[in-house]
Symmetry: C2
Subunit: 203 residues, 2 copies
């Protein structure tokens, strides 16, 4: 059985849980309190030297870090990862976009505002991050005005990765009304068969 070390409010941790469920793979959930620095203990660092969740322990006891690496690993051979070379490359593109241009501004602002309650104190830094987060939502809007899912007609790992923090962006103060194609896509994604949302508290 797989074991998933994660934090239940984390969109990154929700991603592999979603894909394990889609695959019908049972898994054990181990809650890791990141505010209490439980991902930085010597025991945890021996499992993941980068000290982050999620961390996936495979049935054979080997470890895999990075939520989007887990998506690719678990999605291989399923309809979530297209076989066509170009469609597959576009999935990769969105996964890297998510970690570089989206998550650092959208997940981070949500965490600062909704969990650390720094909305007022860090107003300037939040405004800077939100400008970049809105740019990322704009890139999604451009694509989703053209196609129902990020890589064409069918849902893929790209949608899983981007759904994670986009749907909770309003917790950080983002106004999704400004991005109507993104809003419609969120509804479409949550209506997919077998959809289970956040918080993520195990199988």
């Amino acid at each position: 059985m797989h074991t998933l070390y994660g934090n239940s409010i984390s969109g990154n941790c929700w991603k592999p849980a979603f894909m394990l469920r889609q695959r019908g793979l049972p898994f054990r959930w181990v809650e890791v309190d990141i505010l209490a620095r439980q991902s930085r203990t010597p025991e945890f660092l021996a499992k993941n030297p980068n000290g982050r969740v999620p961390l996936l322990e495979l049935p054979d006891g080997r470890f895999l870090a990075e939520s989007n690496a887990m998506l690719l690993h678990l999605g291989e051979g399923t309809a979530w990862l297209p076989r066509d070379d170009y469609a597959r490359a576009k999935v990769y593109e969105w996964l890297f976009f998510e970690q570089y241009s989206h998550e650092p501004y959208i997940a981070t602002v949500r965490f600062w505002v909704a969990y650390m309650h720094k909305g007022q104190e860090w107003a300037e830094k939040i405004a800077e991050a939100m400008a970049k987060g809105k740019a990322a939502l704009g890139v999604m809007e451009t694509q989703l005005a053209r196609t129902p899912f990020l890589v064409g007609e069918s849902p893929s790992l790209a949608d899983v990765a981007l759904y994670a923090y986009t749907h909770v962006a309003p917790e950080g103060g983002y106004r999704l009304e400004e991005f109507p194609a993104v809003q419609a896509w969120l509804g479409r994604f949550a209506g997919l068969p077998g959809f289970v949302g956040m918080p993520c508290t195990g199988p």
Copy 2:
């Protein structure tokens, strides 16, 4: 023929150029001046709505963004992307690590210090970023003290992605002497057959 839109001082742009050369694929290089905001013109945004380089134009005229997506696309079917499921997943892991935990601190500090000349003015912000950059180098050191390349005995796309900005980290003020296994690996990588380094000014 492929066309690569890039900036010749960018490690991200060097990555797909390296892999095109390894594959023996001829390509056209189009220099994009990012300081002059040439990646934000309407013409460029029509090609890549995220307004970044590198951007790869495939021989059929379709576009692919995100340097590490290009590595996966160009590396498929070669020894640079292992066939073994777990080794392949570990390559993915390092690629996401690079974009999330390494590049934002190591490439960015290099750019601020060596190209924007903000070493003094932004000293505090640089010190904060360098603490995270050193943590990333520490994660690499842990692995490279165990295996000659990031995913075991042979070089993979993980090494290409991490070589890009690690070897120029000293331009931002990082002291690689503190990471002897990383230093030895840099030498090993640069000694590989067909190695061509930066700056990247075309095929």
